[in-house]
């Protein structure tokens, strides 16, 4: 009888785990939604001062620390 009770729980365990996993997936995906826009805006601003060819933004996660790393590639000198 107890093994039956135990089995009964695995679908609800799955539901709980999925609900949390998907919530955090959706949050981190939300962060990425604006990246294209951010890239374009940074490109515009930096362009006012130096000649840039591209901007690349990556979200990096290490342990508890999240960081945005922004690479700005300059055009070759004359």
């Amino acid at each position: 009888m107890f093994s039956w009770l135990k089995k009964k729980q695995s679908a609800s365990v799955a539901k709980d785990r999925l609900t949390i996993a998907i919530m955090s997936d959706r949050e981190s995906n939300q962060d990425f939604q604006f990246l294209d826009e951010l890239k374009a805006e940074i490109l515009e601003v930096v362009k006012k001062y130096v000649d840039v060819s591209s901007v690349d933004i990556k979200k990096e996660v290490e342990g508890d620390i999240e960081a945005l790393s922004i690479d700005v590639e300059l055009n070759h000198k004359g």
């Binding site: 039956w4 089995k7 009964k8 729980q9 695995s10 679908a11 609800s12 799955a14 539901k15 785990r17 999925l18 609900t19 996993a21 998907i22 997936d25 959706r26 995906n29 939604q33």
Partner: protein, 270 residues
Amino acid sequence: MGIVIAVISGKGGVGKTTATANVGLGIALNNKKCIVVDFDIGQRNLDMILGLENRVVYDMVQVMDGEASVKQAVIKSKIDENLNFLAASQTKDKSTLTSEKVKKLIDELKDNYDYVILDSPAGIESGFEHTIEYADKAIVIVNPEVSSIRDADRAIGILDAKSQKVKDGEEVEKYLIVNRISADMVQSGEMLCSEDILDILNIPLLGKVSEDRGVIDASNQGKPIILDNKSDAGQAYARIAGRICGENIPLKDVESVSTGMFKKLAGIFK
């Protein structure tokens, strides 16, 4: 003007291609002109499921590249003349797809068919993005299993971010098919039920398909299971196709053991 429906899953191996074949044939059986297109470039499979592998001459990449016309490349099914098929390329790479080429092909298909069904590749790479780009609607296939559901949510997220319709400020309607349901396991609490999956994914349910041994038998023969109107999965796909074509068919409870019990009882009296 035809309706473009992308069939997506996120995770592979959940029965997406089988679903595409059965949905496509089911729509054709409802007397609508339908074309199914295999967008899984490099991993051509839909032709086998539809039993058309020996008739493929030109593929969709050749059509997009202007090496063949739609007319030359499209194969008319002998099962139902309303069902048409366009094969994926087996040799080319997914990177061959561009938005322009995909749009041109889909626009041409929309002009000629009532329903354009696209079998998307698994994963969320560029091949997937091109499949959903010009879709009006999407059918999401999941198994009642955590990795499938999580990957489906991710695929839905990308669909909602990258499709042209969404960029135009509209919404791509999404519908869920829960595939490979085992009533016994749902009843014993070992398998997520459809309602739980709907709570998590939050899109409307198009149909529930039971685990059915006949599906493999059907693909062995290249005759989609919908043709076996005695099979559980075949009946489920027939209901699904009817719903897509606008019929009001109530959802059937395939998750209660009672149906299984009834069957077993019926089996005794056979």
